[in-house]
Amino acid sequence: MNGNTKMKRHPVCKSEELTEGSIMKVTVGMEDIMIGRKNGRLFACNNSCPHKGASLSKGHMNGDNIVCYMHGYEYNVFSGKLEDMKSWKKEPTWVEQDEEWRKSGDLFLYPISEENGMVYVSLKEAQP
């Protein structure tokens, strides 16, 4: 995140709605964002999987990782890093996918905070 960029804080839900271990999708402007709470820590990332664009909020958590429901890739929701690039091979006789198809970037994270019973996500302010 560029430190010089002006950020705007957006209220996205009540604190009580984001229970421990839960994830949910919220929309700010045109951006779909997945937010969640794990071991008391909040996280927010773009809801689009960096691999092939599936909705991450349809996935499930594995420890600190979100597991994408489309191809099973796992990303750490706090660091944003790709942690497990799952093979498509369900049988030993299947041929592995090409490297170019398999590669993925990391999650796009947003600052998230909680104050007075509300959860806020900060996004770059739209340029006039």
Partner: protein
């Protein structure tokens, strides 16, 4: 109007007002049609390897799925361009960005079940992929939604066929009227070859 100048496009304006992220939608459509096109290619190889007595029993159903996946590509590509998107100029990039894995011929293809498992995996990925487009456009972009839901209906049928062949779970399937009939996407105006 100056040549090359694009006027205000009301069909896009209303989508944005409805809250559709058009850039994201174009990305998903490009990945979706990429998966359909590559699947059509790989299903050709899979169908060629439906050999022997077992293979004879399934090659027609594989052919239906193969042609219908090509029809899905044909049905959605015009909509991608209407939205201002385009196909990658290089087919290698087109294949690499596809939303689903390549349905490679398995090493033990002589076992017909191994081919069926690959076919099933491809159909299941396609259902998830078009489900994303349906979710994004439902109630906001009726034109894209209509095409995507037609494609998804056929992908759901394909999944049911291959599950039936693998597990004997009834799918309700009998046969298409002709190979690759596409009962749902076949009514799309773009499919002029049907």
């Amino acid at each position: 109007m100056v040549k090359g100048e694009v006027p205000n496009i009301v069909a896009l304006e209303v989508l944005k007002k409805n809250g559709v992220n058009v850039e994201k939608l174009k990305e998903l459509l490009t990945k979706g049609v990429g998966a359909e096109f590559t699947t059509y290619y790989y299903y050709t190889i899979l169908r060629m390897h439906c050999t022997g007595l077992d293979g004879e029993g399934i090659k027609e159903i594989v052919e239906d799925a193969r042609i219908e996946d090509r029809n899905h590509f044909e049905a959605m590509v015009p909509r991608l361009y209407e939205l201002g998107g385009s196909l990658p100029k290089d087919i290698r990039k087109f294949a690499d960005q596809a939303g689903c894995p390549d349905a490679y011929l398995p090493d033990n293809w002589e076992d017909i079940n191994s081919i069926l498992k690959v076919l099933l995996e491809a159909e299941q990925c396609a259902i998830r992929s078009w489900g994303e487009v349906c979710d994004m456009t439902a109630g906001k972009d009726p034109r894209t939604y209509d095409i995507a839901q037609r494609i998804m209906q056929e992908e759901v049928e394909h999944e049911a066929w291959f599950i039936e062949l693998l597990s004997k779970r009834p799918s309700g399937h009998f046969r298409r009227k002709f190979a690759g009939q596409s009962p749902h996407t076949g009514s799309q105006g773009s499919l002029i070859h049907l």
